[in-house]
């Protein structure tokens, strides 16, 4: 079984790094802007085997806006924010609305990345609790150390299986 998932979020939140950590067990500190779409695959076993087709979509900002056609056929998505940058949570929230409009209500996870820099986070736990109370599943990850990364993808995969 094959499922398409997308990673959405502001620029430099670590979408490509999360995929690189998950698919290739690699991490680089160097930030490299993504242009267009990059597609990776990984087979995951969550009771059933799923081939995840992971779409790494360029970061959202004033220069590049999300192209809705990229979301077509997605069975789920990860909304990625950078814990050290408050504004990236706002971008993720905005993208959630855009995604829901485009592909309807499919499973998603709010991923707060850069957990290795937790002491410098600008996103308060209280704010995250608010979203959790609204029913948003939240995971904290570090693409650098790998913490939470596997769990983010497998949790989404399980959600997609229902």
């Amino acid at each position: 079984m094959q499922k398409k998932i997308c990673l959405l979020g502001g620029f430099a939140v670590g979408k490509t790094s999360l995929i690189s950590r998950y698919v290739h067990s690699m991490f680089s500190d160097r930030y490299l802007t993504t242009i267009g779409v990059k597609i990776e695959k990984k087979r995951v076993d969550v009771g059933r085997q799923i081939d995840l087709v992971i779409w790494d979509i360029y970061g959202e900002d004033d220069f590049q806006k999300l192209r809705l056609s990229y979301l077509r056929g997605a069975a789920g998505y990860l909304l990625v924010a950078d814990g050290t940058r408050r504004a990236t949570l706002d971008t993720a929230v905005m993208l959630r609305a855009t995604a829901e409009q485009a592909i309807g209500s499919v499973p998603f996870l709010l991923v707060i990345n850069k957990a290795d820099l937790h002491s410098t986070w600008e996103i308060d736990e209280a704010v995250l609790q608010e979203y959790a109370h609204r029913g948003w599943p939240i995971v904290r990850t570090s693409a650098k150390t790998g913490d939470g990364v596997e769990s983010a993808f497998t949790t989404l995969a399980k959600e997609m299986l229902g």
């Binding site: 242009i35 267009g36 779409v37 990059k38």
Partner: protein, 183 residues
């Protein structure tokens, strides 16, 4: 121009062109350029996505083209390359083509975006540092004010009281300041 010459030209220009035939399959117009075979397996999901939309375009019967991408691929050496895909319908003959082309513009766009975003990140980090420094100043001022308050409660001379009062007033100014906004 002969078909052979056209084929050589397309290959030399790094362009892969396929004709869409009636049953929906594709036939190569010319030998694929060297970068193209690497796509065969890796980009299947993206091609599937394109073909869905391209078929809608072809079925609409309009002439012209729709462009998709850029999409990123990585070769064995780790080098990334970007390409775009065009679904094309020629006027008159209504012949349908799928055109794959490397997109050198993406590299230039990436370089420009990289610079802009690094600068934006730098400004954000600078702002954060400033905010943290301002918070530190205010917290320290509050602590000094508290110490001055404790001194005032002790036996102190009029001069000492005056100095402590002065320190408290200055601390109030710092605590109430908006120095993080001064950029």
């Amino acid at each position: 121009m002969s078909d052979v010459l056209m084929g050589q030209l397309l290959t030399a220009l790094d362009i892969a062109v396929f004709t869409r035939v009636a049953d929906g399959t594709f036939t190569a117009v010319a030998p694929a350029p060297s970068w193209f075979p690497r796509l065969a397996e890796g980009t299947f999901p993206f091609l599937g996505h394109i073909l869905e939309e391209a078929n809608e375009f072809w079925h609409s019967g309009t002439t012209g083209f729709r462009e998709y991408g850029p999409c990123v691929e990585t070769d064995d050496s780790g080098r990334e390359f970007h390409y775009t895909v065009k679904a094309l319908t020629l006027g008159g003959s209504f012949a349908q083509y799928l055109v794959f082309q490397l997109d050198p513009g993406s590299e230039r766009l990436r370089a420009a975006l990289q610079t802009a975003r690094e600068q934006a990140l730098g400004i954000e980090q600078d702002r954060t540092r400033r905010r943290q420094a301002a918070a530190d100043v205010r917290r320290t001022a509050a602590e000094i004010k508290e110490l001055a308050q404790q001194v005032l409660k002790m036996k102190a001379t009029d001069v000492q009281k005056q100095v402590m009062k002065g320190i408290q007033d200055k601390c109030d100014v710092l605590i109430a300041s908006h120095i993080e906004l001064h950029e």
